[in-house]
């Protein structure tokens, strides 16, 4: 198992100042090298669970174990450095920065991180920057093919790309950082069928070519059936059902309570 969630519990307070339990003991084992889909109704705590795993939510009880290490309450940036990447529902590329800068930021090469290193050691810095630029081109080529249009748009401001493009480029950016587990929050949300197909290809590539483990939240059941090896159904604060995707999605209780069938 690459990731284990053990008895994760978290409570919040609503507008009436009443406390309610959102997660009531989530237990989940995420298998290495597989694509696991986390499904469940709106407001069941799927994104909160991602926030807990990636270090943005600290007020919980239970254990998050990644590659055998319990990393409870470690700051988010350190969790990222440990090998967990994340695609958000809304945050895509960083506006005001070029596509190249967006991609380079995700590189795990930390040469030149000191404030004046580019001025003090210009040769070393330039070499590292060239290396990162090569890596960016290599990742984009691997994902979108030889001579793809993004190779000629590296100097374009990220905010000029459409939502769908930002989504697929954000996915491509996840391949820059040497991550081993990727958390994808609704990767197909709000994008047209053409981009959904590309996203499907990228996620398959992540698993098959890069050997990455993917945990994704998704409401598009057709998409989940196509890409996910394993499916976990979150309902009323617990993982109510987990197993092979078809088995979970065809389960009578899941169809009743989530799909309304």
């Amino acid at each position: 198992m690459i990731l284990q969630l053990k008895d994760i519990r978290i409570s919040f307070t609503n507008a009436q100042n009443e406390s309610f339990d959102l997660l009531r003991g989530v237990n989940l084992d995420v298998e290495k090298g597989k694509i696991t889909a986390l499904v469940g109704g709106n407001g069941t705590g799927k994104t909160t669970l991602f926030n807990i795993i990636s270090g943005f939510e600290k007020n919980y009880t239970g254990e998050v174990v990644f590659e055998g290490n319990d990393f409870n309450r470690i700051p988010a940036h350190r969790i990222s450095l440990m090998g967990i990447g994340r695609l958000f529902q809304d945050g895509q590329l960083m506006g005001g920065l070029t596509l190249m800068e967006n991609m380079k930021l995700a590189s795990d090469d930390t040469t030149g991180e000191m404030p004046f290193s580019s001025l003090l050691f210009p040769k070393k810095w330039k070499k590292a920057e060239l290396q990162k630029e090569l890596q960016v081109r290599e990742v984009l080529t691997r994902i979108f093919g030889q001579d793809n249009k993004y190779l000629n748009m590296l100097d374009k401001d990220a905010s000029e790309f459409s939502y769908g493009e930002q989504r697929i480029l954000s996915l491509a950016r996840l391949l820059m950082g040497g991550d081993r587990l990727l958390l994808l929050d609704e990767p197909t949300s709000g994008v047209n069928p053409m981009y959904i197909e590309i996203i499907e290809q990228i996620i398959r590539e992540m698993k098959e070519q890069e050997g990455l483990t993917v945990l994704l939240i998704e409401h598009n059941m057709h998409f989940v059936r196509k890409v996910a090896d394993v499916c976990a159904y979150l309902d009323e604060g617990i993982i109510a059902k987990v197993g092979p995707t078809a088995e979970v999605l065809d389960d009578k209780n899941v169809r009743n309570s989530y799909l309304g069938l």
Binding site: P75, R78, G91, M94, L105, G112, S159, S162, G177
Partner: protein, 289 residues
Amino acid sequence: MIWQFVINGLITGILYSLLAIGFALVFNTTKIFHIAAAGIYVFAAYMFWFFVASVGLPVIPASLVALVLTMLLSLLTEVLIYRPLKNKKASLNVAMIASIGAMTVIINTIAMFFGNETKVIDNSILQPLTFGDIIITSPQKYQALIGITVLIIFMVLLQRTNWGLRLRALSADETLFETLGYDTKKTRVLVFLVSGVFIALASCLTVYDVGLDPNMGMNVLISAVVAMIIGGVGRFSTCILGGLTLGVLQSLTVYHFASNWQNAVTFLVLIILLFLRPQGIAGYKQRTV
């Protein structure tokens, strides 16, 4: 004659740009409306005055000591006020109220120790530079030289170093920044230290020319914030364009009308400008996703 006013406006604009960048460094990266910058500006001025007038240091060493102390005070606002509030998930409005509180405490403390009367750092008359009809006073010469040099260095660092890239990335999206493996806490420490440098420079260069009093901070800060907004919020280079525009506009208002109309006419023109370009002069309408 009009060119004299344009030059005066440009030099004032450089000072606005410095303070606007000091403010924007904090505002763009943390989204906190950093009103405490007005108090920090006053603190820098009084430290400069104290080390020149009371300790007897020459102007340059005194300004350097004031700069270091201002950097520390700027960092203290982050460590003692903004960071604990962020850890408690306080809203940005709460942070702004706390910032107003910090400004008030700083200014009242300074007034308590140094009094409310206006003080002068150097009242000797130095030989000005003259170019035909245009006169550049000695303080103006330093303001222009130091201001332009610092602004150029900052823009080079911002565009040509990884540190600059990180600063721009933190301004764009703090959550993504952290998710990509960057330590927001450490970067914010750097942001507040550099902000302190800009506030101190703006303050020392200004008060060397016009003197100081404990209540000067807010007026200057308003001009700097206006410079940031008319330049275009979200980027640092636009502060310079906004600062220069505001400085020249104010100066030309004095030339055409009178100094007591300066603020009214300036703000009227700015309101019209913002109606025409709400994103600021160099700001751009971002594609929203």
